[in-house]
């Protein structure tokens, strides 16, 4: 059930990411879901989600290197490590994790453009950075609210803890 949820949600977010990509916005939506699954279900699920999403996007966009898969898993691992070491209470935890994830996605995108010799064509870079940070926090909050509600009904682990435990990866039950 966990794997089914992970792959289904990742697939839907990859589709949305392709749609946003055609508008010129590299939002990195599947990585937020991967972060959620890494914290709620366990790091393996997060890595599978981030890796498969990055790999699929790299293949679809015919990128020369598998940068998406590698940087995606690194971003999710960093954010999940931060989430597991900090308080996992609503709404603080998803908001800060989402903001951190958004910041890292934006920085990784710029690094990728810089090292691949490309040119950035999106909106104003500073505006994009702020949008990614604020939007990342809000998106992660909404995603966590929805996914936690579904997981509660499906008796699956959740992102946010109900008590004050600062539990580790995958113990959000």
């Amino acid at each position: 059930m966990k794997l089914f949820m992970t792959l289904t949600v990742t697939g839907i977010l990859i589709w949305l990411e392709l749609f946003a990509g055609n508008l010129g916005l590299p939002l990195g939506l599947p990585l937020y879901a991967a972060l959620y699954f890494a914290v709620a279900n366990g790091m393996v699920y997060g890595m599978v989600s981030a890796g498969s999403a990055g790999l699929l996007l790299d293949l679809l966009y015919a990128r020369e290197y598998l940068a998406g898969a590698l940087t995606g898993t690194a971003v999710v691992a960093l954010c999940a490590a931060y989430a597991c070491r900090s308080s996992r209470k609503m709404p603080y935890a998803p908001l800060t994790c989402g903001m951190l994830c958004g910041l890292l996605i934006c920085l990784v995108n710029w690094l990728w453009i810089f090292f691949s010799g490309g040119v950035y064509y999106g909106p104003n870079p500073l505006c994009m950075l702020i949008f990614q940070i604020v939007g990342g926090g809000i998106f992660m909050l909404l995603f966590t609210l929805t996914a936690d509600a579904v997981n509660f009904r499906s008796d699956l682990p959740r992102f946010c803890l109900r008590d004050n435990r600062s539990g580790g990866v995958g113990d959000g039950r």
Partner: protein, 290 residues
């Protein structure tokens, strides 16, 4: 001991500073979000309204259904009218065929090649990498439609002339990858309209900036004027002659004389942001494949 409590007048500037900072942060966030949403909405609306504009065009299906409601005599009258229209259209078609033949003969006399030997098909852009938005994209036509690697990808402007978008780099059965002229990996020859000199895009040490393409390996001359048109030479396989690549940009500080070659920049003729459909030039005769 008496506890220190700041007076109201002491707290007022602090509250004002905090409020001002909060308003500033809020304004920055709102402006940033508006900037990004405005950017994305512009692109979304560009493609979104296309099918609706297409749907409001009059179609034959509508007139065919009204015929079912008419009686025999009115149908006969309409038939007569249509026969008359058909006759006048046939005459016009015959005249156009005569003009076409005359045009062909004149082109042969002047030894103008034009786009002869190529047929054009249209394709929709399926996928664009947001990290390389102007440097390449995937189109929905592949080897099943006759697309070959190296085929020119073009756009038609409002005046009806062709503009070079890029070249097909990889071909699949149902889709193909296109490399645009601003991509540093694409090097094609171009002829300057004013003095007929030939140079190459993306040549030299400096890479294209995205807004402009590096254009170099030109013979050293003093008459490369800003705004001169540069078009394809037809030397490359699959790229017809005379397709506009861009205009010379010689006002910047980038113009320098090497020992033998002259380098400058080109402003691309195509607006890559608004591209939705493109044309592909497919070589159909051996003379098109040099």
């Amino acid at each position: 001991m008496k506890k220190f409590t700041p007076r109201k007048s002491d707290r007022t500037p602090r509250i004002a500073i905090i409020t001002a900072a909060a308003v500033l942060v809020l304004l920055t966030v709102v402006t940033s979000v508006f900037n990004v949403v405005h950017y994305a909405w512009g692109r979304f609306a560009d493609g979104f309204f296309y099918p609706y504009l297409l749907a409001v065009q009059p179609s034959d299906r509508l007139s065919d259904t009204t015929l079912l409601m008419q009686d025999k005599s009115s149908l006969a009258i309409r038939l007569e009218k249509l026969a008359n229209i058909n006759r006048s259209l046939a005459l016009q078609s015959q005249a156009a065929a005569g003009l076409m033949e005359e045009n062909r003969q004149l082109r042969n006399l002047l030894k103008l090649t034009g786009y002869r030997g190529f047929k054009f098909i249209t394709a929709e852009i399926l996928l664009r990498d947001p990290l390389r938005f102007r440097e390449g994209f995937t189109i929905g036509k592949g080897s099943r439609d006759g697309v070959v690697p190296g085929a020119a990808v073009v756009e038609v402007n409002s005046a009806g002339s062709l503009l070079l978008v890029g070249v097909v780099s990889e071909v699949g059965a149902r889709s193909s990858k296109v490399v645009t002229v601003v991509n540093n990996s694409l090097r094609i020859s171009g002829r300057v309209s004013s003095n007929k000199e030939i140079g190459f895009t993306n040549s030299g040490e400096k890479s294209s900036s995205g807004e402009r393409i590096v254009f170099g390996m030109l013979p050293v001359r003093g008459d490369y004027i800003h705004g001169n048109m540069v078009s394809t030479t037809g030397f490359e396989f699959g790229i017809p002659e005379g397709i506009k690549i861009g205009e010379l940009y010689t006002n910047g500080n980038f113009n320098f004389y090497d020992q033998e070659d002259y380098f400058c920049e080109l402003i691309p003729a195509v607006r890559f942001e608004s591209l939705r459909f493109v044309g592909i030039a497919l070589p159909e005769t051996p003379e098109a494949i040099r």
